[in-house]
Every structure is written in C-alpha cells, then in structure tokens.
C-alpha cells in the first residue's frame, strides 16, 4: 500500500493565492462537480458495455448478412448495418473491447517508461539527469504524430504495434512532468532524513518519491487515455492502425466513409462513440486535476 506524505499534499493544495483566485477555484469546482459525475457515469457505461458486449450485442459482430446490407437504423438493427450486412451496434460494442484496452495499454507504456526516465533523471541528478533530460528534450523535439508514424513505418500495422507506437510517443511528456516533480521532492526534509538513516536511492524513490509524484501522473495518464484512444482511431482511420475486419472504431469509420452519401449512420455512430468517450475522459481528467493537483491547473 502506497502511503502519501500528507505534508507534501498540504503544500500543494494550500498556498494563499488571493481571495479572488480562491473564489474562482471554488466556483469552478462546484460547477464542474455535476458535469464530472455525469462524465464518470458515461464512461462507466462505455466500460460496462465493453465488458458485457457478448451479452448485450444482439448479433455476432462478424456475422455477415444479419439483415439487408446498408439498412438504416431501425428496430431490428439499432444503428443499421454495414455493406456486408453486419450489425453496427454489435460491432461498436465489441469495438469498445479493442479501443479502450489499446488506449489504456498504450498509456501504461508511456507511464511506466516515462516515470522511470523522469524519476531517474530528476532524483538521481548529475550525469543521469544530463543524459535523461537530453533524451526527453530530443523526444519532445519530434512532432508527436511523427514519432508514432515512424514506429508504424518500421514495425508495420496491427494492434500490438499501435500500442507500442502511441505508448512510446507519449513517454517524453510523462518523463518531463515526473522529472519536475522528482526535482522538487528531492529537496524535502523527509528525503534528507531518509538519506541520513541510510536508505538507498532505490528505496527512497520507491517509498517516498513515487507516491508523492503520483497525483500529477494520475491526472496526466487519465487525459492521455483520451488522446491515445483518439490517436488509435486516427491511425485506424488512416489504414495505419488496427486492420479490418477487426471492429476498431476508427477502422470502422474508414470503412463507412465511401458510403457516406447513402449510409451516413456508418460514420455517424462510430465517430459519436469516440467523441463521447474522449470528452468523458477529458472531463474526468479535468476534474481529477482540480481535485488532486491544483498546480497543474491551466496548463
């Protein structure tokens, strides 16, 4: 069980910033609360729908000719059917089992590797920091989408490579935040105390630095899941991500594109689902930021 130093949290949330700032913060907090709760509920529904997809979906997502091809939304097919007569609603439900895990896994890659890099650079300092910061700066020097596309260009398309590409592209952003936090934490008295009783750097990082660096990591990770889902669907849409017939949301949109004039529901529903999911995640992330880490506000 991680235990968070109350001292550090108090320092973070406290700090008088003028009555006006305080009033504004309280106001936005109150304003955001219902919206964030609503977003959490929406997100929960998407997650539950993904888990219960086999139970909830009326048809097999890959079964063809479940009805007439390109039939519009109706009682038999809530969201209509695609060109092979597959049921769009079922495919979207199963698509959530592809898109959500890819987003979470990609962000896990960014979080783990980014935190490792950031903690090492920020806490150990010295030559490690010189090299680590250099790596972070160089990675940040690349346009974000290029890093992902470069990896796809070398590894090829497919689910696993999408996770790697988006995950690696996110590393420098996590590393930068974590390094900054680690630098600040290093100066605290409890770290000095830990050193004085002979704790190793590894132990200090594991028991003291990491738990205190967690709030910003959690906030950033939440927001990144949203952008990772967006990026995954974009890659799928470009034909560079998950390949058909896998029902990934972006890939489905791209398949529906040529029938836009006659079957607009094929692009409407997958896009709407990506949009709603990403907005919900962003709102939850904004809320977490307001609650967990006011320092990051407005950044």
């Amino acid at each position: 069980m991680m235990h968070v130093k109350p001292l550090a949290i108090a320092e973070r949330t406290g700090g008088p910033r003028g009555a006006a700032a305080g009033r504004r913060r309280r106001l936005t907090h109150v304003h955001r609360y219902p919206l964030a709760m609503f977003a959490t509920a929406v997100l929960g529904m998407v997650v539950v729908a993904a888990m219960l997809a086999p139970v909830l979906s009326p048809y097999d997502p890959s079964a063809m000719a479940t009805g007439p091809a390109l039939s519009p939304p109706g009682p038999a097919h809530w969201f209509g059917t695609d060109r092979y007569g597959r049921d769009l609603f079922s495919r979207l439900l199963f698509g959530a089992r592809i898109s959500l895990p890819i987003g979470v896994m990609a962000v896990s890659v960014s979080v783990v590797l980014g935190s490792f890099l950031g903690l090492a650079a920020g806490f150990l300092g010295g030559r490690v920091d010189t090299v680590g910061s250099g790596v972070i700066d160089i990675m940040l020097g690349f346009p974000p989408i290029m890093l992902a596309l470069l990896i796809i260009a070398v590894l090829g398309v497919g689910i696993q490579n999408v996770v790697i590409a988006i995950g690696v592209a996110g590393i420098p952003r996590f590393a930068r935040i974590v390094r900054g936090t680690a630098l600040a934490i290093r100066e605290h008295t409890y770290i000095e105390a830990g050193r004085a009783i002979g704790a190793s750097a590894a132990r200090l990082i594991r028991r003291h630095v990491l738990p205190n660096a967690l709030p910003p990591i959690i906030v950033l990770a939440t927001l990144y899941v949203g952008s990772a889902i967006l990026d995954t669907s974009s890659l799928g849409f470009l034909g560079l991500g998950v390949q058909p017939p896998t029902p990934e949301w972006g890939t489905m949109l791209s398949e529906g594109r040529e029938f836009m004039r006659y079957a607009p529901w094929l692009m409407l529903f997958p896009g709407l689902l990506v949009f709603v999911t990403v907005v919900a995640i962003n709102l939850v992330g904004d809320y977490l930021r307001a609650v967990l880490d006011p320092r990051l506000k407005g950044r």
């Binding site: 250099g134 160089i138 020097g141 090829g156 972006g250 791209s254 836009m260 896009g271 949009f275």
Partner: protein, 306 residues
C-alpha cells in the same frame, strides 16, 4: 541576444542528428530485404539484385552507408522513390504547394477562431458566453479530426451543397481549413482564456481600472498583451506541424499534400519518401520551436537570461 539565439540553435543539433539517424535506420530496421521492396515482388536475377543493392549503397559497411546518407540528405538528395522511380525531392516538391496552402488557411482559421473564443470567454468569465466558448473549445479538442471532417462534408457538402468537397480553388479549401484549424481553436481558446484570467489580479490591471478605463479596454489593451504568449507558441507549433496536421485532413478530403504522401508511402513501403518526410517534418518542427523561443526572447527580455 545573439548568444541566446545561438544557444537555441545549438539545441537543434542533437535532435536533427537523432532524426537523421532514425531516418537512416528506417530502411535498415525493416524486416526483409529492401531490394525486395524496390522490386515489389518482380522476379530478378542475383545480378540485378546486386546492382540495386549497390545503388542503395547497401553493399558498403554501415558507417560508410551512414556518411553517404547524411551527405546526400544535406544536399536534399534522398534517392529515388521505390514506387515511381522519381527523385524523392521532386515527389515532395510536387506536393508542397498544396500543403502550404492548407496550412496557411488552417492557420488563419485556427488562430482567428481560437483568439475570438478565448477573448470572449476571458471577457465574460462564468457566463453563458464563457460556457459556450469553452464547450466549443472542448469539442475542438475532443472530436476526432476525421469525424469533424466527415460531418462537415456530409452536411455542408452533400446535404446543403454550400461548398464543393473536391477540386481546387478557395471554396474547396474552406472545410479542410476548418478541420485543420479545429484543434488549434480548442487549445488556443483555453490558453487565451486562462491567461486573461491569470493577469486579472495584476497591479497594472488594477491601475488601468483605477484610471477609469472601460473593462473592455482593460482586457483588450492590457490583459490581452500577456495573453498573446500562447498565441506565439501555438503559431510556432502549427508552423511545424503542417505536415503532421495535414495527415488526417488531406486523407479525408482526398487532397494532395505531404500528409497524404506520408500515409501513402508508409502503406506502400516507399521508404526513401518516408525517410525524407520524417527528416523534413522534424526539421520544420524544430526550427519552428527555435523561432518561437526567439520571438519570446524579443517580447520578454526576462526569458533571455534564464
């Protein structure tokens, strides 16, 4: 000042070296023999293969290959496209004007729209105007670019027939520009709003108010000056992202341009083109970032001495 610029320029060197190395390695890391890609499945004698390998320089030791690649890249020579046999520089030059057009138009829409929304929200915080502007901004950030594009095409192009969705000319540029700019609109609006709100408590704002200036003048003339910093950042980023930003927009609208070219060349495994675009994009991005830093240094002398 010149030392500051020089320091910023020095920083580009390692990034460009790494980018060059990545570009170089792309062709060496892909599974299989690049010569097979050049032949795209056609049978060929060992002699022909040997010739092709020599042409790519693959028969030389790795360091020599690297030196060869870097020296030629510096001269803008990235070899020939696997797909068409054209020089890569020529392939890129053909697509560049379309990309620049899109980037220019998208930039105007993005910065104009973002500033307008951000100022509106900053002038009237916690009102319906603020709420509407921030909702639009959230939509711009969260909505997949390709989906915005398809909705716009469907409603304004197919249903209402207001704008052409294919072809050249200014009318056909409207929707792509909106899509290209949508992400910038969202980000910029949020940044401008929060910078305006941040400077509200500053002394010089209080002074301006004490002088009896109208609230609008206070915000537009005094608060906004500081709110312009994010605009500079966003401008630089957009300048650098004109290829990456075009990837989605150009594909959805079936436009020409470097983004579309990049997607096609990745899909067709046309690696010389991929290498060149990778380097070009990174260089554009890096130098745009330097430009941003230099402009910051000019606006705010404090930054130069950090």
């Amino acid at each position: 000042m010149s030392r500051y610029v020089l320091r910023k320029l020095m920083w580009t060197v390692p990034v460009l070296v790494v980018a060059t190395t990545c570009a170089f390695l792309v062709l060496r890391l892909i599974p299989g023999d690049p010569v097979n890609l050049m032949l795209s499945g056609r049978p060929a004698s060992e002699r022909v293969r040997e010739n092709l390998r020599a042409k790519l320089g693959l028969n030389r030791p790795l360091p020599a290959q690297y030196a060869y690649f870097v020296l030629h890249a510096l001269r803008g020579d990235f070899g020939e496209s696997f797909a068409t046999g054209q020089p890569v520089s020529q392939v890129i030059a053909q697509q560049l004007p379309a990309s620049l057009q899109l980037a220019g138009a998208g930039f105007i829409v993005g910065v104009g729209g973002g500033l307008a929304l951000g100022i509106a929200a900053g002038l009237y915080p916690n009102t319906a105007i603020d709420g509407a502007a921030m909702f639009l901004a959230l939509v711009g950030i969260s909505m997949p670019g390709y989906w915005i594009a398809m909705l716009l095409i469907y409603f304004f192009g197919l249903r209402l027939g207001w704008v052409p969705i294919v072809g050249g000319g200014l009318p056909a540029l409207i929707l792509p520009a909106v899509v290209f700019g949508s992400y910038a609109i969202g980000n910029l609006a949020r940044l401008v709003r929060s910078s305006i709100l941040d400077v509200r408590g500053e002394d010089y704002i209080r002074t301006a108010r004490a002088k009896g200036l109208m609230e609008r003048v206070v915000v537009l003339r005094h608060a906004l000056r500081n709110a312009l910093f994010p605009v500079v950042t966003m401008t630089g980023l957009l300048l650098g992202l004109f290829i990456g930003g075009g990837v989605i927009t150009e594909t959805v609208f079936a436009r020409q341009g470097l983004g579309a070219l990049l997607v096609t060349s990745i899909l067709t495994k046309d690696y010389p083109v991929v290498q060149a675009l990778l380097l070009l994009t990174t260089a554009a991005y890096v130098f745009a970032n330097v430009l941003v830093d230099v402009v910051y240094g000019v606006i705010d002398p404090r930054i130069r001495y950090q």
